[in-house]
């Protein structure tokens, strides 16, 4: 009864002479929360970028909802398979403006930005409405991560690709963010997460499955 949401096969990535991963396959089903594990430098971020279509694929193919990535118009694809970088760019102006900003993009024009929805998501993360009025240039690294997370959730993607999305948060805020994201993934059918995290306890709390990124043996 499972629905294949995001699949990949035969992926390869090299950096210069070094092969990071080769013949990598992934199958994320709706409702799943996959934790991507691998040592530092194993190319977890590059894998998420490849899944988001931000880097060209060296080999293999990524399928979303059964359709190859290269057949999707990329804005449509990325609006559904959304990548959150570890260090989101600060942006400019106030938090409210930054949350509203992607709604001006053509792909999101038919969606309406609701301040109440943004405030509700922030409340779930332990922030009150005053957060909306903060200058984004003065946000801490953790607050910038919260802003990016709320912004992504407001855009209603199907798959979230989270790259250490809570790495700069304090433990309480981390738990709140995990709870919010888990609740989001279960709120509607057809949603899934791929989460890169170095924190084994976090993976235990969030992930329904772990995916290892060690397909290539390094020769010393």
């Amino acid at each position: 009864m499972s629905v294949r949401l995001l699949t990949a096969s035969g992926l390869r990535r090299t950096l210069g002479e070094r092969v990071l991963w080769q013949d990598f396959a992934l199958n994320v089903e709706a409702g799943e929360r996959a934790a991507l594990i691998g040592p530092s430098g194993s190319g977890k971020t590059l894998l998420l970028r490849a899944l988001a279509g931000l880097d060209p694929l060296e080999a293999g193919e990524v399928y979303f909802q059964g359709r190859a990535q290269h057949e999707w118009p990329m804005p449509n694809y990325r609006a559904r398979v959304m990548y959150l970088p570890q260090r989101p760019p600060p942006g400019e102006g106030r938090v409210l403006g930054e949350l509203r900003r992607p709604f001006a993009l053509r792909i999101h024009r038919d969606k309406a930005f609701e301040v109440s929805q943004a405030a509700a998501l922030l409340a779930a993360l332990g922030r009150d409405a005053a957060f909306l009025g903060l200058d984004v240039a003065r946000l801490s690294g953790g607050e910038a991560q919260l802003l990016a997370l709320v912004r992504a959730l407001l855009l209603n993607p199907a798959v979230l690709l989270l790259d250490e999305a809570t790495s700069a948060l304090d433990p309480d805020a981390t738990l709140l963010a995990e709870r919010l994201v888990c609740a989001w993934s279960e709120a509607e059918p057809g949603r899934a997460l791929v989460w890169v995290s170095h924190d084994a306890a976090q993976r235990g709390r969030v992930a329904t499955r772990e995916v290892g990124l060690q397909t290539v043996e390094m020769t010393p």
Binding site: A52, G53, L54, D55, P56, H70, M74, P75, N76, R78, A79, M82, Y83, L84, P85, R87, P88, P89, G91, P102, L105, R106, I107, H108, R151, A152, L155
Partner: protein, 264 residues
């Protein structure tokens, strides 16, 4: 007509370089060699240009005029890339296309449409006007190119952040495109603002020296300023769009790896 100059008089002016040489020697600036080389180089270049122009003017053939125009354009396109600290594979071609496209179109329009010179390739008009247009376009193209290629690297996370949210490549790079085109147009806009107050434009001065009535010289200068502004705007826009096409692919990806840093 202006007073004819003999070689003696030119040599007299060259003696003024002795002031620089003397200063360098007394203050131990170590510039003596450079002063001599720069002075000699300038003299040889200009004498050569004088010879070539004399030949082009005497021939009065459209092919020689267009030919020398193309050589000037090639040199300008190469110089425009010179400033860019980051380059991609087709950067020289893109620079040439922008400098060539804007300069030739604007010079052609000026000669045939505004000044209504007969024949249109009359070298006395075509060569100096193309030269001025090229000089200005080169500045605009070079500033835009440098700005855009630097911004794309410096603001990579902002651009890719927008792409990741579903922006098209145009939406994601719009701010960088706009600021590159603006940067290219700033020198022309600045010089227009102070023209005649702080600086007396070279062409107008030259025409007055050559005996033209000031009001004619002024009208020529106004025409030229508008042409220069239009050409540098067109050149800046073209080169920015070409660089945009080179650095963003059809799959709405930023291909920053196509840029190579240049030492210096």
């Amino acid at each position: 007509m202006s007073v004819a100059l003999s070689f003696h008089q030119v040599a007299l002016a060259a003696a003024l370089m002795l002031v620089n040489a003397l200063l360098s020697w007394r203050l131990q600036l170590g510039l003596g060699r450079e002063i001599v080389v720069a002075g000699a180089r300038m003299t040889v270049q200009l004498l050569l240009v004088g010879l070539i122009l004399g030949w082009v003017f005497a021939l009065r053939h459209p092919l020689t005029v267009v030919g020398i125009g193309l050589v000037m354009t090639l040199l300008a396109a190469q110089a425009a890339v010179g400033r860019a600290r980051r380059r991609y594979a087709r950067i020289y071609l893109d620079s040439f296309l922008s400098v060539f496209g804007s300069s030739f179109v604007l010079t052609g329009l000026t000669l045939a449409g505004i000044l209504q010179v007969h024949p249109w390739f009359e070298p006395q008009y075509a060569v100096p006007i193309l030269g001025m247009v090229l000089g200005n376009t080169l500045t605009g193209v070079s500033l835009s190119l440098d700005r855009f290629t630097s911004d794309v690297v410096a603001r990579r996370s902002e651009i890719e952040g927008l792409l990741a949210l579903g922006a098209t490549r145009w939406e994601a790079a719009h701010a960088e495109i706009a600021s590159a085109v603006q940067t290219g147009m700033i020198p022309t806009l600045n010089s227009m603002a102070v023209l005649g107050i702080v600086s007396l434009p070279g062409m107008m001065t030259g025409q007055i020296l050559a005996g033209a009535p000031p009001d004619t010289a002024v009208r020529y200068q106004i025409v030229i300023m508008f042409v220069l502004a239009a050409s540098s705007a067109l050149g800046s826009l073209t080169v920015t769009l070409l660089a945009f096409r080179a650095l963003f692919d059809a799959r709405d990806r930023l291909r920053a790896e196509r840029l190579r840093g240049v030492k210096g």
